[in-house]
Subunit: 620 residues, 2 copies
């Protein structure tokens, strides 16, 4: 992978930073955050501004350009990838390392006195704006909103904003009508005496209206905003998309059942002026709920006295706890996904010795096999199909120039998932098709111990996920090893593969307690730069546990794996496992064989079934 | 224990809340925090205002009185005690339970519109003031500083502020002169371009000047403030205390070696006006460091533009990492402490069958035995000497009316510690002098597993203590059990038994990473209300570990127990322990026997030695 040459782009951006066409006074630094106006993690091509300016295309990172410097902050998953994609005009700022300055501290260290720092208020979240603005002010600088995006100003062939076909989801997939969800939302608003709620996160809007789109690759969402009052619903979306009869009927646009469930539609861009109008009509003490992760531009429309910022919206919280229909759908999706992966691994075993399978062709084959399954929509994120040293690039995506051939000599790590209409999957398996070394087996087994420690953990109701993170690391830590990423993230149901408000990470302190019905990933790993990467990931469902006692009637929780794909026994050093851990592996493999075996049989996929049966033999 | 009758006091306080002698306009609520003007955890009798108004005398709790309600917030350690000490004019607010409103939310729920809430700005920390003020403002109320303390106004026989004799500590105890510490502080200030530092925490001031006092029971500190500039040192303390020649010499008050190490002394009360004078002379951009836990009154003296609030001061951080001399002192103190406890337990074994030992007499005996040890100063906190159901009151302190007799039928929990000039101890042992039930042994063993899991944990450099908290709970959680307190706190060296900035707790997210040289407690527990309490506590030193690998050259840490007192084998169900855990117990007991045995022998304490040898037999 060769870095993007950015000399000319940086020259143009710095010119724009001084150009009175965009800003009254020159600015000394310009911040380019990762997200779009909805603070999405994955973004549409038209919003890939940080990638455009620096070349780094990972899912997380912030670029800052000053008159003399250009720096880009990203986390441990991306250190290697970012260093390969950026040219030497850029300094890589490795977040999470003790010696790395924060964006604020770095700006303060490089800026001349009384500097002005600019940012597009639409793509910076309110909480980030606040922190940055306060830190800069404390050092005599100021943060200003630059209304015209300066990257867009120099981006000649910037793509247009997508507006794809909307898909309506019936009760059989959602378990609740959008009217039910609206009523529940309003009762939460009434409980807290809130008059209006502004929905800005794309997955929350998709979930609320039981609609899906494909505006952003991998995430079945569509560009929209919604403003909900106690008797009003306003949906802001490209109006052309609402011309389709199924969509009109689904939203009851022509025949609303009740006045308070009648949806007023308006163009996507009009949210700003409409919110201004709503705010102009507020009476004293009326409150408007908006996420503290919403864009600064929109948040500042709401006068401070009426603004109620919340870390997690009621939609985010409701969406995280899956209902019976959604859980059933997620289970079905994971069975189909496991079928495709069993087929893939059986195929790889046959094909790898021929020397013709590459990271890209293996990923393509996985996609092809998944696409044969019912209600397949697309991938849930770019497949991380990585051989040997590429496996150490935590969010690697194979490109023609990095594409390695799978062999009998190197570890293969495949982290992939799909969107089906009934659910979203995300699974990582790490395999060796020849003879793994003792060291590879040893480290794999530590990772497996961590995976099991989380998956089998029993913990009291009300426990936050971050309290489980160290369980995943204990075996690695005992040997002086670790991994530089969190252990798990929330997973949507035919929605974003990463979602809040729960997760399992040493970093996440604002996570909400785990509840029965929540779905998260369990994915510890171990990485040796230049050698290999190991990760074992299942998607797991939070379920009630019934241990021997019940302290203060609090009740306990544990996890049930939804992912049912064998974990390669060949990679396991069984001597390092306890009997309890061996029992866990055998019970897990029994479930894989029973559930996925039945489906493979039903689909007549004989070779994959043979592979599954062989790979799920009990370990001693 | 009978509750304090507060009808009349509440009537008087509510009258004061409307009295224009104290405040221009009546206030609708008055907050009575726990601490003193230094936000000390343990406080002098003159500062026990919360206890005075509600009767609850635990170390943590905030009382709020409105025109109609009176409520008191405390944490899980104190639920039982608080409910026994307060009469029914008071509502106990159990912090940490989901259904319990925060102080802010409760105030908002009970106050009439546009209410004013008052608090003494000297005894509320800046960060608490900010949060409270913001929350109240958001609901249309306001928080105001009431300069005259309203509790003091109705407290007729309020004790005077103590001013005890100061003790000077030489290099043999401190490892660093106060001049060395001052220089290190100034280099931290220079690093961050800070002109002035205001020290408000009593233990930080005592540590900085290598002085100790006894103004507050159990904590060898003295009432003082310090303001340090790059060329100035101002110490605010009752001037009478400085008349002693040893103190004058120690501080070089008459013969300062260098101008910048010359200490200007001033009366304790003059800190406010002196800080005003310092602030009046500041030039633009000059910064003053003050803890965000300092009093609101003092913090607000510093103009916002010059104020730099820090969660942990450089003194707090430097004090937490003990130097070789301090570590050696702490080890010596723990050996002496273990000698006293071995004697105590041998004595208890003989005396308990006679039916004459009570919680109080056992605690007195422990104090007597400790006082026979060299350089004993006093206890480090009130001994928690508790039998049977009293053991479930986590911070129990035996009183004549609650005093139970030790017997062969009930569990005895002793959590106690002492101040020696060379170090501070804090140890909990839970014992049964007859035959413990299977259930008592089972739960004791889960607690022991948790204790070992923390004590033996290996973790990367840079790990924060809160990431280890779940290790202590894992075995309890697996059986549906838990405990409602943190697992460990920092321990001072001949200073406060509780100190920041490190700790091991699910609650502490602002803790600083553990570093070699830090000292914390490891004290998981299990409590059954009305039946018994179990806790196993050692003080442990953070030391480098040398596991097999060294990921990214980060290095690893682990703990070394400083407390060397046998853990009662009779209480252990060895079947529930893993071989590794049994090995840990045997190795720990070997160290107890070797180190404490030698000292018992040297001191000629034969009975205790016999007891130690018997109690440290290897378990199978």
């Amino acid at each position: 992978m060769s870095p993007k040459i950015t000399v000319e782009l940086l020259r143009q951006l710095r010119q724009a930073m001084r150009n009175t066409k965009y800003i009254a006074e020159p600015i000394q630094a310009y911040i380019v955050p990762s997200g779009d106006a909805h603070q999405s993690e994955y973004i549409a091509p038209c919003d890939c501004r940080r990638e455009f300016i620096c070349g780094f295309n990972g899912s997380a990172g912030t670029a800052i350009v000053t008159e003399k410097h250009a720096a880009m902050w990203t986390d441990g998953r991306y250190f290697l990838q970012a260093s390969q994609q950026m040219d030497n005009n850029w300094t890589l700022m490795k977040m999470g390392l003790k010696e790395t300055l924060s964006q604020e501290d770095w700006l303060i260290s490089v800026l001349p006195e009384n500097s002005t720092v600019g940012v597009d208020p639409w793509i910076i979240a309110t909480d980030q704006w606040k922190n940055m603005s306060k830190a800069l002010a404390g050092a005599g600088h100021s943060l200003v909103a630059v209304q015209d995006n300066l990257i867009d100003a120099i981006w000649m062939d910037r793509p247009t904003r997508p507006s794809t076909k909307l898909l309506t989801l019936g009760l059989g997939f959602t378990g609740l009508t959008w009217q039910d969800k609206m009523t529940a939302l309003r009762s939460k608003m009434a409980e807290r005496k809130i008059s209006w709620f502004v929905a800005t996160a794309l997955d929350e809007i998709a979930w609320l209206f039981n609609l899906r789109g494909s505006d952003i690759e991998y995430n079945p969402v569509f560009f929209a905003y919604a403003i909900v009052g106690m008797n009003t619903i306003r949906l802001f979306v490209d109006i052309k998309r609402l011309a389709v009869p199924t969509v009109r009927e689904h939203l009851q646009l022509d025949t609303p059942s009740k006045a308070e469930l009648s949806i007023q539609t308006a163009p996507y861009e009009s949210v700003f002026t409409e919110l201004q109008a709503v705010c102009a009509s507020l009476v004293p003490k009326e409150k408007v709920w908006i996420s503290d992760k919403a864009s600064c531009a929109l948040t500042q429309v709401i006068p401070k006295a009426h603004r109620s910022l919340i870390p997690y919206t009621p939609l985010c919280l409701a969406k995280a706890v899956k209902n019976t229909t959604e859980i059933q759908g997620m289970k079905m999706a994971h069975i189909k996904d496991a079928v495709a992966l069993c087929e893939l691994f059986a195929w790889l075993e046959k094909e790898i010795p021929k020397g013709t399978v590459t990271e890209i062709s293996a990923a393509d084959k996985a996609e092809e096999l998944r696409s044969q399954q019912k209600d397949f929509v697309g991938l849930s994120f770019p497949s991380i199909s990585s051989v040997g040293p590429n496996g150490a690039i935590i969010h690697y995506r194979p490109l023609p120039e990095t594409n390695r051939t799978l062999s009998l000599n190197e570890i293969y790590l495949l982290d992939s998932g799909a969107q089906y209409i009934d659910g979203t999957t995300d699974v990582t398996r790490t395999m060796h098709f020849g003879s793994p070394s003792a060291y590879e087996k040893e480290t794999f087994t530590y990772v497996l111990k961590g995976h099991i420690a989380v998956s089998a953990a029993i913990f009291p109701n009300g426990t936050k996920g971050h309290l489980l993170d160290s369980f995943a690391r204990q075996a690695l830590w005992e040997s002086g090893l670790d991994y530089l990423h969190g252990t798990g993230h929330g997973v949507g149901c035919f929605l974003n593969v990463h979602e809040g408000p729960c997760g399992i990470s040493y970093k996440t302190f604002a996570d909400e307690p785990l509840e029965a019905g929540m779905i998260v990933s369990d994915e510890p790993g171990y990485y040796e730069d230049g050698l290999f990467g190991i990760r074992i990931e299942n998607v797991v469902l939070v379920v009630p546990a019934k241990p021997k006692y019940n302290y203060r009637n609090k009740g306990s929780l544990t996890f049930e794996p939804l992912t049912l794909v064998p974990i390669q026994a060949k990679m396991v050093n069984t001597d390092i496992l306890t009997q309890k851990e061996r029992d866990w592996v055998n019970e897990y493999h029994r479930q894989c064989r029973e559930t996925i075996g039945a489906e493979l049989e039903r689909q007549g996929r004989k070779e994959a079934l043979d592979w599954l049966i062989r790979e799920t033999q009990p370990i001693a």
